[in-house]
Amino acid sequence: MISAILVMAAIGLVLGGILGWASIKFRVQDDPLVEKIDAILPQTQCGQCGFPGCKPYAEAIAKGEADINQCPPGGADGVNRLAELLGVEPKPLGEGLEAKPKSVAIIDENTCIGCTLCIQACPVDAIIGAAKQMHVIVASQCTGCELCLPPCPVDCISMQVIKEDVVNWKWRYPIHMMKRAA
Protein backbone atom coordinates (compact mmCIF):
# COMPACT_ATOMS: atom_id res chain seq x y z
CA MET A 1 0.00 0.00 0.00
CA ILE A 2 2.83 2.35 1.02
CA SER A 3 4.72 1.62 -2.20
CA ALA A 4 1.63 2.53 -4.21
CA ILE A 5 1.45 5.94 -2.57
CA LEU A 6 5.20 6.41 -2.98
CA VAL A 7 5.04 5.56 -6.71
CA MET A 8 2.19 7.94 -7.40
CA ALA A 9 3.94 10.68 -5.41
CA ALA A 10 7.13 10.11 -7.46
CA ILE A 11 5.26 10.34 -10.79
CA GLY A 12 3.46 13.48 -9.58
CA LEU A 13 6.72 15.11 -8.51
CA VAL A 14 8.51 14.38 -11.78
CA LEU A 15 5.65 15.68 -13.93
CA GLY A 16 5.15 18.72 -11.70
CA GLY A 17 8.83 19.59 -12.21
CA ILE A 18 8.55 19.30 -15.99
CA LEU A 19 5.40 21.44 -16.10
CA GLY A 20 6.90 24.09 -13.80
CA TRP A 21 9.99 24.36 -16.01
CA ALA A 22 7.80 24.46 -19.14
CA SER A 23 5.53 27.22 -17.83
CA ILE A 24 8.54 29.43 -17.23
CA LYS A 25 10.16 28.68 -20.57
CA PHE A 26 6.96 29.14 -22.56
CA ARG A 27 5.83 32.44 -20.93
CA VAL A 28 3.63 34.15 -23.45
CA GLN A 29 1.93 37.53 -23.54
CA ASP A 30 -1.80 37.74 -24.35
CA ASP A 31 -2.59 37.05 -27.94
CA PRO A 32 -4.01 39.83 -30.10
CA LEU A 33 -7.55 38.35 -30.11
CA VAL A 34 -9.22 41.69 -29.36
CA GLU A 35 -7.84 43.30 -32.53
CA LYS A 36 -9.02 40.32 -34.60
CA ILE A 37 -12.57 40.59 -33.21
CA ASP A 38 -12.52 44.38 -33.63
CA ALA A 39 -11.54 43.86 -37.29
CA ILE A 40 -14.77 41.93 -37.91
CA LEU A 41 -17.09 44.42 -36.19
CA PRO A 42 -18.59 47.05 -38.55
CA GLN A 43 -17.20 50.00 -36.46
CA THR A 44 -20.48 51.90 -36.52
CA GLN A 45 -19.81 52.69 -32.79
CA CYS A 46 -23.60 52.67 -32.43
CA GLY A 47 -23.81 51.03 -28.98
CA GLN A 48 -26.76 48.80 -29.90
CA CYS A 49 -24.74 45.92 -28.44
CA GLY A 50 -24.90 47.52 -25.01
CA PHE A 51 -21.26 48.69 -25.06
CA PRO A 52 -20.08 52.25 -25.69
CA GLY A 53 -18.34 51.32 -28.95
CA CYS A 54 -17.00 48.45 -31.02
CA LYS A 55 -13.68 48.19 -29.19
CA PRO A 56 -15.29 47.72 -25.74
CA TYR A 57 -17.66 45.13 -27.25
CA ALA A 58 -14.65 43.33 -28.78
CA GLU A 59 -12.88 43.30 -25.40
CA ALA A 60 -16.05 41.96 -23.78
CA ILE A 61 -16.26 39.14 -26.34
CA ALA A 62 -12.58 38.34 -25.86
CA LYS A 63 -13.09 38.13 -22.12
CA GLY A 64 -16.21 36.04 -22.73
CA GLU A 65 -18.56 38.50 -21.00
CA ALA A 66 -20.52 39.34 -24.16
CA ASP A 67 -22.22 37.03 -26.63
CA ILE A 68 -21.26 37.13 -30.32
CA ASN A 69 -24.73 37.94 -31.64
CA GLN A 70 -25.38 41.39 -30.13
CA CYS A 71 -24.31 43.50 -33.12
CA PRO A 72 -27.26 44.27 -35.49
CA PRO A 73 -25.25 46.39 -38.02
CA GLY A 74 -22.90 43.40 -38.41
CA GLY A 75 -25.89 41.26 -39.32
CA ALA A 76 -25.97 37.45 -39.47
CA ASP A 77 -22.83 37.48 -41.63
CA GLY A 78 -20.88 39.27 -38.90
CA VAL A 79 -22.05 36.75 -36.29
CA ASN A 80 -20.96 33.86 -38.52
CA ARG A 81 -17.51 35.33 -38.99
CA LEU A 82 -17.15 35.90 -35.24
CA ALA A 83 -18.25 32.30 -34.66
CA GLU A 84 -15.68 31.05 -37.17
CA LEU A 85 -12.91 33.14 -35.59
CA LEU A 86 -13.70 31.90 -32.06
CA GLY A 87 -14.50 28.34 -33.24
CA VAL A 88 -17.94 28.34 -31.62
CA GLU A 89 -21.35 27.44 -33.04
CA PRO A 90 -22.85 30.32 -35.08
CA LYS A 91 -26.04 31.70 -33.46
CA PRO A 92 -28.90 33.78 -34.92
CA LEU A 93 -28.99 37.51 -33.99
CA GLY A 94 -30.02 38.23 -30.40
CA GLU A 95 -33.74 38.66 -29.58
CA GLY A 96 -35.27 41.95 -30.67
CA LEU A 97 -32.22 42.82 -32.80
CA GLU A 98 -32.58 42.78 -36.58
CA ALA A 99 -30.14 44.06 -39.17
CA LYS A 100 -31.73 47.20 -40.71
CA PRO A 101 -30.70 48.18 -44.25
CA LYS A 102 -27.69 50.52 -44.19
CA SER A 103 -28.81 54.16 -43.98
CA VAL A 104 -27.25 57.62 -43.71
CA ALA A 105 -28.32 60.59 -41.52
CA ILE A 106 -29.48 63.75 -43.32
CA ILE A 107 -29.87 67.19 -41.65
CA ASP A 108 -32.89 69.24 -42.79
CA GLU A 109 -31.13 72.59 -43.42
CA ASN A 110 -34.09 74.92 -42.78
CA THR A 111 -34.83 73.65 -39.25
CA CYS A 112 -31.25 73.22 -37.96
CA ILE A 113 -30.44 75.92 -35.38
CA GLY A 114 -26.69 75.22 -35.17
CA CYS A 115 -26.57 74.05 -31.53
CA THR A 116 -23.53 71.67 -32.13
CA LEU A 117 -25.09 68.99 -29.87
CA CYS A 118 -25.06 66.46 -32.72
CA ILE A 119 -21.44 67.31 -33.54
CA GLN A 120 -20.39 66.28 -30.04
CA ALA A 121 -22.57 63.16 -30.22
CA CYS A 122 -21.20 61.88 -33.53
CA PRO A 123 -18.68 59.09 -32.74
CA VAL A 124 -16.83 59.54 -36.04
CA ASP A 125 -16.93 63.38 -36.40
CA ALA A 126 -18.89 63.09 -39.63
CA ILE A 127 -20.89 66.31 -38.96
CA ILE A 128 -19.43 69.66 -40.07
CA GLY A 129 -20.66 72.93 -38.59
CA ALA A 130 -20.10 75.48 -35.78
CA ALA A 131 -22.16 77.17 -33.09
CA LYS A 132 -25.03 79.05 -34.68
CA GLN A 133 -23.75 78.05 -38.13
CA MET A 134 -25.37 75.59 -40.56
CA HIS A 135 -24.53 71.89 -39.89
CA VAL A 136 -24.15 69.20 -42.57
CA ILE A 137 -23.41 65.45 -42.39
CA VAL A 138 -20.67 64.03 -44.64
CA ALA A 139 -22.61 61.10 -46.17
CA SER A 140 -19.48 59.08 -47.06
CA GLN A 141 -18.28 59.08 -43.43
CA CYS A 142 -21.64 58.60 -41.66
CA THR A 143 -21.92 55.03 -40.37
CA GLY A 144 -25.70 55.20 -39.76
CA CYS A 145 -25.38 54.71 -35.99
CA GLU A 146 -28.31 57.11 -35.26
CA LEU A 147 -26.52 58.56 -32.15
CA CYS A 148 -27.11 62.08 -33.42
CA LEU A 149 -30.90 61.73 -33.49
CA PRO A 150 -31.68 61.90 -29.71
CA PRO A 151 -29.60 65.02 -28.79
CA CYS A 152 -31.03 67.17 -31.61
CA PRO A 153 -33.43 69.66 -29.90
CA VAL A 154 -35.35 70.45 -33.11
CA ASP A 155 -35.39 66.88 -34.51
CA CYS A 156 -34.06 68.04 -37.89
CA ILE A 157 -31.97 64.84 -38.49
CA SER A 158 -33.63 61.95 -40.36
CA MET A 159 -32.25 58.55 -41.46
CA GLN A 160 -32.34 57.87 -45.19
CA VAL A 161 -31.78 54.32 -46.52
CA ILE A 162 -28.98 54.17 -49.13
CA LYS A 163 -30.71 53.68 -52.51
CA GLU A 164 -29.38 51.10 -54.99
CA ASP A 165 -27.78 52.81 -57.99
CA VAL A 166 -25.79 51.70 -61.00
CA VAL A 167 -22.52 51.66 -59.01
CA ASN A 168 -23.46 49.67 -55.91
CA TRP A 169 -25.96 47.42 -57.71
CA LYS A 170 -25.26 43.73 -56.95
CA TRP A 171 -25.87 40.70 -59.12
CA ARG A 172 -28.63 38.59 -57.58
CA TYR A 173 -28.21 35.00 -56.43
CA PRO A 174 -29.31 32.93 -59.48
CA ILE A 175 -32.79 31.54 -58.65
CA HIS A 176 -32.57 27.76 -58.58
CA MET A 177 -34.72 27.04 -61.66
CA MET A 178 -35.60 23.61 -60.36
CA LYS A 179 -37.00 24.87 -57.06
CA ARG A 180 -39.22 27.26 -58.96
CA ALA A 181 -40.35 24.54 -61.35
CA ALA A 182 -41.32 22.24 -58.45
Binding site: V7, I18, F26, D31, G87
Partner: protein
Protein backbone atom coordinates in the same frame (compact mmCIF):
# COMPACT_ATOMS: atom_id res chain seq x y z
CA UNK B 1 13.23 -4.09 -38.19
CA UNK B 2 10.59 -5.84 -40.35
CA UNK B 3 8.49 -6.49 -37.25
CA UNK B 4 8.30 -2.76 -36.42
CA UNK B 5 7.27 -1.93 -39.98
CA UNK B 6 4.54 -4.54 -39.71
CA UNK B 7 3.28 -2.99 -36.45
CA UNK B 8 3.29 0.44 -38.03
CA UNK B 9 1.37 -0.67 -41.17
CA UNK B 10 -0.97 -2.72 -38.98
CA UNK B 11 -1.97 0.12 -36.67
CA UNK B 12 -2.23 2.78 -39.39
CA UNK B 13 -4.29 0.81 -41.92
CA UNK B 14 -5.51 -2.57 -40.78
CA UNK B 15 -6.77 -2.03 -37.25
CA UNK B 16 -6.95 1.76 -37.44
CA UNK B 17 -7.63 3.33 -34.06
CA UNK B 18 -10.69 5.26 -35.21
CA UNK B 19 -11.99 3.10 -38.02
CA UNK B 20 -11.60 -0.44 -36.74
CA UNK B 21 -11.18 0.00 -33.00
CA UNK B 22 -13.67 2.95 -32.89
CA UNK B 23 -11.60 4.83 -30.31
CA UNK B 24 -11.06 8.59 -30.07
CA UNK B 25 -14.38 9.56 -31.67
CA UNK B 26 -15.06 12.83 -29.79
CA UNK B 27 -12.04 14.78 -31.15
CA UNK B 28 -12.58 12.99 -34.45
CA UNK B 29 -16.04 14.57 -34.70
CA UNK B 30 -15.24 17.78 -32.88
CA UNK B 31 -12.10 19.00 -34.59
CA UNK B 32 -12.80 17.89 -38.15
CA UNK B 33 -14.75 21.01 -39.11
CA UNK B 34 -11.77 22.70 -40.75
CA UNK B 35 -8.73 21.16 -42.46
CA UNK B 36 -6.11 23.38 -40.77
CA UNK B 37 -7.39 22.58 -37.27
CA UNK B 38 -7.49 18.87 -38.13
CA UNK B 39 -3.84 18.93 -39.22
CA UNK B 40 -2.93 20.81 -36.02
CA UNK B 41 -4.84 18.35 -33.87
CA UNK B 42 -3.28 15.39 -35.69
CA UNK B 43 0.21 16.71 -35.03
CA UNK B 44 -0.56 17.43 -31.36
CA UNK B 45 -2.07 13.98 -30.81
CA UNK B 46 0.83 12.23 -32.55
CA UNK B 47 3.30 14.10 -30.32
CA UNK B 48 1.38 13.28 -27.16
CA UNK B 49 0.60 9.68 -28.05
CA UNK B 50 4.14 8.69 -29.00
CA UNK B 51 5.56 10.23 -25.82
CA UNK B 52 2.77 8.78 -23.72
CA UNK B 53 3.17 5.19 -24.96
CA UNK B 54 6.94 5.39 -24.40
CA UNK B 55 6.58 6.92 -20.92
CA UNK B 56 3.79 4.57 -19.89
CA UNK B 57 5.91 1.56 -20.88
CA UNK B 58 8.72 2.84 -18.62
CA UNK B 59 6.31 3.55 -15.77
CA UNK B 60 4.70 0.12 -16.15
CA UNK B 61 7.88 -1.98 -16.26
CA UNK B 62 10.09 -0.10 -13.79
CA UNK B 63 7.75 1.60 -11.35
CA UNK B 64 4.68 -0.60 -11.19
CA UNK B 65 5.96 -4.14 -11.88
CA UNK B 66 3.56 -7.04 -11.10
CA UNK B 67 2.25 -6.21 -7.63
CA UNK B 68 1.15 -2.66 -8.38
CA UNK B 69 -0.57 -3.61 -11.67
CA UNK B 70 -3.82 -2.15 -10.35
CA UNK B 71 -2.24 1.32 -10.51
CA UNK B 72 -1.73 1.02 -14.26
CA UNK B 73 -4.66 3.09 -15.53
CA UNK B 74 -4.23 5.76 -12.86
CA UNK B 75 -0.54 6.31 -13.53
CA UNK B 76 -0.99 6.28 -17.29
CA UNK B 77 -3.64 9.02 -17.05
CA UNK B 78 -1.37 11.16 -14.87
CA UNK B 79 1.51 10.77 -17.31
CA UNK B 80 -0.72 11.63 -20.26
CA UNK B 81 -2.12 14.67 -18.45
CA UNK B 82 1.43 15.88 -17.79
CA UNK B 83 2.44 15.50 -21.42
CA UNK B 84 -0.74 17.20 -22.64
CA UNK B 85 -0.15 20.09 -20.25
CA UNK B 86 3.35 20.43 -21.68
CA UNK B 87 2.03 20.30 -25.27
CA UNK B 88 -0.65 22.87 -24.48
CA UNK B 89 1.92 25.38 -23.29
CA UNK B 90 4.17 24.64 -26.24
CA UNK B 91 1.36 25.26 -28.77
CA UNK B 92 0.17 28.38 -26.91
CA UNK B 93 3.71 29.71 -27.33
CA UNK B 94 4.48 28.55 -30.86
CA UNK B 95 1.16 29.29 -32.63
CA UNK B 96 -1.57 31.16 -30.69
CA UNK B 97 -3.89 30.90 -33.73
CA UNK B 98 -3.83 27.10 -33.64
CA UNK B 99 -4.18 27.22 -29.86
CA UNK B 100 -7.36 29.32 -30.00
CA UNK B 101 -8.86 27.39 -32.91
CA UNK B 102 -8.25 24.02 -31.22
CA UNK B 103 -9.77 25.58 -28.12
CA UNK B 104 -11.26 23.03 -25.75
CA UNK B 105 -10.11 20.05 -27.82
CA UNK B 106 -6.44 20.52 -26.91
CA UNK B 107 -6.79 19.71 -23.19
CA UNK B 108 -9.36 17.12 -24.25
CA UNK B 109 -6.55 15.01 -25.70
CA UNK B 110 -6.11 13.78 -22.16
CA UNK B 111 -9.58 12.31 -22.17
CA UNK B 112 -9.21 10.97 -25.72
CA UNK B 113 -9.86 7.26 -25.26
CA UNK B 114 -7.35 6.43 -27.98
CA UNK B 115 -4.58 8.17 -26.03
CA UNK B 116 -5.27 6.05 -22.95
CA UNK B 117 -6.23 2.98 -24.98
CA UNK B 118 -2.93 2.52 -26.79
CA UNK B 119 -0.68 2.31 -23.72
CA UNK B 120 -3.10 -0.19 -22.18
CA UNK B 121 -3.04 -2.21 -25.42
CA UNK B 122 0.76 -2.04 -25.32
CA UNK B 123 0.75 -3.62 -21.91
CA UNK B 124 -1.86 -6.19 -22.92
CA UNK B 125 0.22 -7.34 -25.92
CA UNK B 126 3.48 -7.28 -23.95
CA UNK B 127 5.29 -4.97 -26.38
CA UNK B 128 8.90 -4.08 -25.52
CA UNK B 129 9.89 -0.42 -25.36
CA UNK B 130 10.56 0.03 -29.09
CA UNK B 131 7.45 -1.93 -30.10
CA UNK B 132 5.21 0.17 -27.87
CA UNK B 133 6.78 3.35 -29.29
CA UNK B 134 6.03 2.18 -32.83
CA UNK B 135 2.56 1.04 -31.79
CA UNK B 136 1.87 4.48 -30.29
CA UNK B 137 3.28 6.24 -33.32
CA UNK B 138 1.30 4.01 -35.69
CA UNK B 139 -1.93 4.52 -33.78
CA UNK B 140 -1.46 8.30 -33.71
CA UNK B 141 -0.52 8.47 -37.40
CA UNK B 142 -3.61 6.40 -38.21
CA UNK B 143 -5.73 8.76 -36.12
CA UNK B 144 -4.23 11.84 -37.78
CA UNK B 145 -4.50 10.40 -41.31
CA UNK B 146 -8.18 9.58 -40.89
CA UNK B 147 -8.86 12.87 -39.08
CA UNK B 148 -7.31 14.97 -41.88
CA UNK B 149 -9.09 13.04 -44.65
CA UNK B 150 -12.36 13.31 -42.74
CA UNK B 151 -11.90 17.06 -42.27
CA UNK B 152 -11.38 17.52 -46.01
CA UNK B 153 -14.56 15.55 -46.65
CA UNK B 154 -16.56 17.57 -44.14
CA UNK B 155 -15.37 20.82 -45.69
CA UNK B 156 -16.83 19.68 -48.97
CA UNK B 157 -19.98 18.43 -47.25
CA UNK B 158 -20.51 21.87 -45.75
CA UNK B 159 -21.86 23.18 -49.06
CA UNK B 160 -23.92 20.12 -50.10
CA UNK B 161 -27.68 20.58 -49.72
CA UNK B 162 -28.05 17.61 -47.40
CA UNK B 163 -31.71 17.00 -46.44
CA UNK B 164 -32.64 19.12 -43.42
CA UNK B 165 -32.75 16.38 -40.69
CA UNK B 166 -29.31 15.09 -41.71
CA UNK B 167 -27.47 18.43 -41.71
CA UNK B 168 -24.37 18.92 -39.59
CA UNK B 169 -23.05 16.15 -37.33
CA UNK B 170 -25.48 13.46 -38.47
CA UNK B 171 -24.17 13.42 -42.06
CA UNK B 172 -20.68 13.47 -40.56
CA UNK B 173 -21.52 10.38 -38.56
CA UNK B 174 -22.84 8.62 -41.68
CA UNK B 175 -19.69 9.57 -43.57
CA UNK B 176 -17.54 8.20 -40.73
CA UNK B 177 -19.55 4.96 -40.88
CA UNK B 178 -19.00 4.63 -44.63
CA UNK B 179 -15.31 5.36 -44.09
CA UNK B 180 -15.00 2.49 -41.65
CA UNK B 181 -16.86 0.33 -44.20
CA UNK B 182 -14.12 1.26 -46.68
CA UNK B 183 -11.41 0.50 -44.12
CA UNK B 184 -12.87 -2.98 -43.74
CA UNK B 185 -11.16 -3.69 -47.03
CA UNK B 186 -7.95 -3.97 -45.06
CA UNK B 187 -9.46 -6.63 -42.80
CA UNK B 188 -7.30 -9.71 -42.62
CA UNK B 189 -4.45 -7.96 -44.38
CA UNK B 190 -1.86 -8.91 -41.78
CA UNK B 191 -2.15 -12.67 -40.99
Amino acid sequence: MENYLLILIGTVFVNNIVMSKILGLCPFMGVSRKLETAIGMGAATTFVLTLASGASYLVDTYLLGQDLAYLRTLSFIVVIAGIVGFTEMFIKKSSPVLFRVLGIYLPLITTNCAVLGIPLLNVQEQHNFLESLFYGLGGALGFSLVLVLFAAMRERLEAADVPKPFRGVSIAMITAGLMSLAFMGFAGLIR
